[in-house]
């Protein structure tokens, strides 16, 4: 499984000037955002000069790949919306980041919320939507208050609401506070939660663009994706697609955690080498220990062994080739002291806890994955348990309404495949007790 690319696609990243989180003091304040960052110019230009359909084409051409995990072209997603009829139409902004390892959207919400609001307004105009519900996870209560203050300011100035900026277009932005359910980050489950129900994912089709919130056409985008929309409409699609990896352009916020000297959220172009991120950006491994594993995009993506990251870059295509996924670009770095069995046990506990319980393979499967890995971790497992785990994964993947069961099964499957020695070291040595008699013919 060797990646064929091998070189950084991030260009001169050392001198990259940040665009999502540019170094401007107090950028989160409306007056600063407008004065020093040309804030709300893009939406005004769009309202004056652009037809809604042209905006969708421009965003499609920029190829903003969804930053929430699926890496799907945002403009293409917008184009699935049916023509306007007498039904209301909605946008749901997914700010429910709860994937372990991911904390990038919170940085935008804290340090540059107006970039997101402007992106929402542009999206609402492009698809001619009546309202946007921003679904923020319930734990981010301080940041919800912070955003509400800023949102009230733009309501007051007439940037959102009736006839925004004096045009004949009206639209609303409403903040909604979740209450601690990982599954609500899944788009259809988010819609159920917004409707006041238990957050159960829905069967697709019908897709949200046909039947979404309250049965009406709906599009769901991630916070970072919508922030990029503002930048695309300000600087043009070509400017955007020149940054970073050609097939996965733009800048992105890498949220790095784990055994590195300087963890944190860093904004750089996509297509950074994983080794550059660890060694040059994060100041190397803590205590100079050796790298053991990298989980490039949140708990759901397959972990990579240290010898698998040579030349692998942080974009969807390179990571797919290497046998993992970009996910949310929330990267966890683990050193040589890590026991991958104990680590996996905790990942499984997470999925067992967060499974919504709607589909049997997932509800029961996640529990069994945790129970069996715990058994191995406690030294009570047999080698055949590894096959049992793989068999369980086969029974879960692709057999449920949403991708949660797949996300729970992949770490198990690939951790066993790639770190088998850790598991074998903890399993009982033999299946049969031969009483000391050698079993030879």
């Amino acid at each position: 499984m060797e990646a064929t690319n091998g070189q950084s696609k991030a260009g001169d990243w050392q001198n990259f000037e940040r665009v999502l989180l540019p170094p401007i003091r107090d950028l989160h304040r409306l007056d600063v955002y407008e004065k020093e960052y040309d804030g709300y110019q893009a939406i005004q230009k769009v309202l004056r000069e652009w037809e809604p359909g042209e905006v969708i084409d421009e965003v499609k051409q920029a190829n903003i790949r969804g930053r929430g995990g699926a890496a799907f072209n945002a403009g293409l997603k917008w184009s699935f919306m049916p023509p306007k009829d007498d039904r209301p139409r909605y946008l749901a902004c997914n700010a429910d980041e709860s994937e372990p390892g991911t904390y990038k959207d919170r940085q935008i919400m804290e340090y540059n919320p107006h970039l997101m609001f402007e992106g929402i307004l542009i999206a609402n105009y492009a698809m001619q939507l009546d309202a946007c519900y921003v679904y923020v996870r319930g734990e981010y209560v301080d940041w919800i208050d912070h955003m509400q203050r800023e949102l009230d300011k733009i309501y007051e100035k007439g940037y959102v609401g009736e006839n925004i900026f004096g045009s004949d277009f009206s639209t609303e932005i409403i903040l909604h506070k979740g209450a601690g359910a990982y599954i609500c980050g899944e788009e259809t489950s988010l819609m159920d939660s917004l409707e006041g129900k238990r957050g159960y994912p829905r069967i697709k089709p019908p897709f949200p663009a046909q039947k979404g919130l309250w049965g009406n056409p709906t599009t769901i985008n991630n916070v970072e994706t919508l922030s990029h929309v503002t930048l695309v409409m300000r600087h043009g699609a070509d400017w955007f697609s020149d940054i970073g990896a050609p097939t996965h352009p733009g800048s992105t916020i890498y949220g790095i955690s784990g055994h590195v000297n300087r963890p944190g959220c860093y904004e750089y172009p996509t297509g950074m080498l994983i080794s550059d991120l660890i060694e040059k950006v994060c100041g190397g491994m803590r205590d100079g220990k050796k790298l053991k594993a990298v989980i490039p995009g949140g708990s759901s993506v397959p972990p990579l062994r240290a010898d698998m990251i040579d030349g692998v870059t942080m974009d969807a295509d390179s990571l797919r080739e290497a046998g993992s996924m970009l996910g949310t670009a929330g990267m966890l770095v683990l050193n040589e002291d890590t026991d991958m069995v104990t680590w996996l046990r905790r990942v499984n506990h997470f999925y067992q806890h967060e499974s919504c319980g709607q589909c049997t393979p997932c509800r029961e499967g996640t529990g069994w994955l945790e129970a069996i890995v715990t058994r191995i971790d406690e030294g009570e497992g047999n080698l055949r348990d590894l096959d049992l785990l793989i068999d369980l994964c086969d029974q879960m993947e692709g057999r449920t309404i949403c991708a949660f069961a797949d996300a729970a099964a992949w770490p198990v499957r690939y951790t066993i495949e790639r770190f088998r020695e850790d598991f074998e070291a903890k399993c009982k040595p033999a299946v049969f007790d031969t009483g000391g008699v050698a079993m030879t013919a």
């Binding site: 940040r18 989180l21 170094p23 401007i24 003091r25 107090d26 209301p88 980041e97 709860s98 372990p100 390892g101 991911t102 904390y103 919170r106 940085q107 804290e110 340090y111 319930g138 981010y140 209560v141 301080d142 409403i174 506070k177 979740g178 209450a179 601690g180 359910a181 990982y182 917004l194 409707e195 006041g196 129900k197 238990r198 957050g199 309250w214 949220g255 790095i256 955690s257 784990g258 055994h259 300087r262 963890p263 944190g264 959220c265 860093y266 904004e267 708990s299 929330g330 966890l332 002291d337 890590t338 026991d339 104990t342 680590w343 046990r345 905790r346 990942v347 997470f350 919504c356 971790d377």
Partner: protein
């Protein structure tokens, strides 16, 4: 006489007619609160969507959500009790039983696990003399092991009663936190400076926050689970 060997359900069924835990004379919403609920309703096309904000408000007022409070919310929204019960029991941040005044939610998902969250949990358990999931006898503290709180770079970290985050935990920081909470002083909102801001802007970019922190090298992990 055969009993047909019928097994009892593994999960105990909930008490269908529990004793009310909120005194009857306190169980009401004030005029202002009812107006607030009306404003919640206006934000959405259906009343049912206002369940989550209304439950949040009820939890703020009563501290937790026993069945009689769920019924109160259902009445205020003109919804069947089952809809409110269904939503309240799905989400972990709605407390269905009484907790301590201060709930310490220690994040133990994988990034925090790898950076010593179980050591934090051990320390708290020993200090307060309770296990995770339990409440101290004086009703002041509850410790909980929770899933990812979205602050993986400042691991280990915790959240106090669905409110402020406390980052980069050390034993000294935990001692200070417990002492402050014993004096009813909640930890302040803390803005964590981006590493690139530290380099390019010499610190946090927000001039409106008093308390800032930075990302730090995580500590060694003693206990992994």
């Amino acid at each position: 006489m055969s009993e047909f060997n019928i097994k009892k359900p593994v999960v105990p069924l909930p008490d269908m007619d529990p004793e009310p835990q909120i005194p009857e004379d306190e169980l009401f919403f004030t005029e202002e609160e009812l107006e607030q609920i009306e404003r919640y309703k206006e934000k959405y096309p259906t009343n049912r969507s206002a369940v989550m904000p209304a439950l949040w408000m009820a939890q703020q007022k009563f501290g937790f959500l026993p069945p009689e409070v769920m019924q109160l919310v259902a009445d205020a929204l003109d919804l069947p009790y089952a809809h409110v019960f269904g939503a309240a029991t799905f989400y972990t941040q709605y407390y269905k039983e009484k907790k301590g005044t201060y709930v310490l939610d220690v994040c133990c998902s994988f990034s925090c696990q790898a950076c010593g969250s179980y050591d934090v949990l051990d320390y708290l358990e020993e200090k307060l003399g309770i296990h995770a999931g339990e409440t101290t006898e004086d009703g002041r503290f509850t410790i909980q092991e929770v899933e990812c709180l979205g602050s993986c770079g400042t691991a280990p970290m915790l959240q106090v009663t669905n409110g402020p985050y406390v980052h980069n935990l050390t034993e000294e920081k935990l001692d200070q936190l417990i002492e402050d909470l014993r004096n009813d002083k909640m930890p302040p909102f803390t803005s964590v400076t981006l590493p690139q801001d530290e380099d390019e802007m010499e610190g946090n970019r927000r001039s409106d926050v008093e308390h800032t922190d930075t990302y730090q090298t995580p500590p060694e992990t003693k206990r992994w689970i």
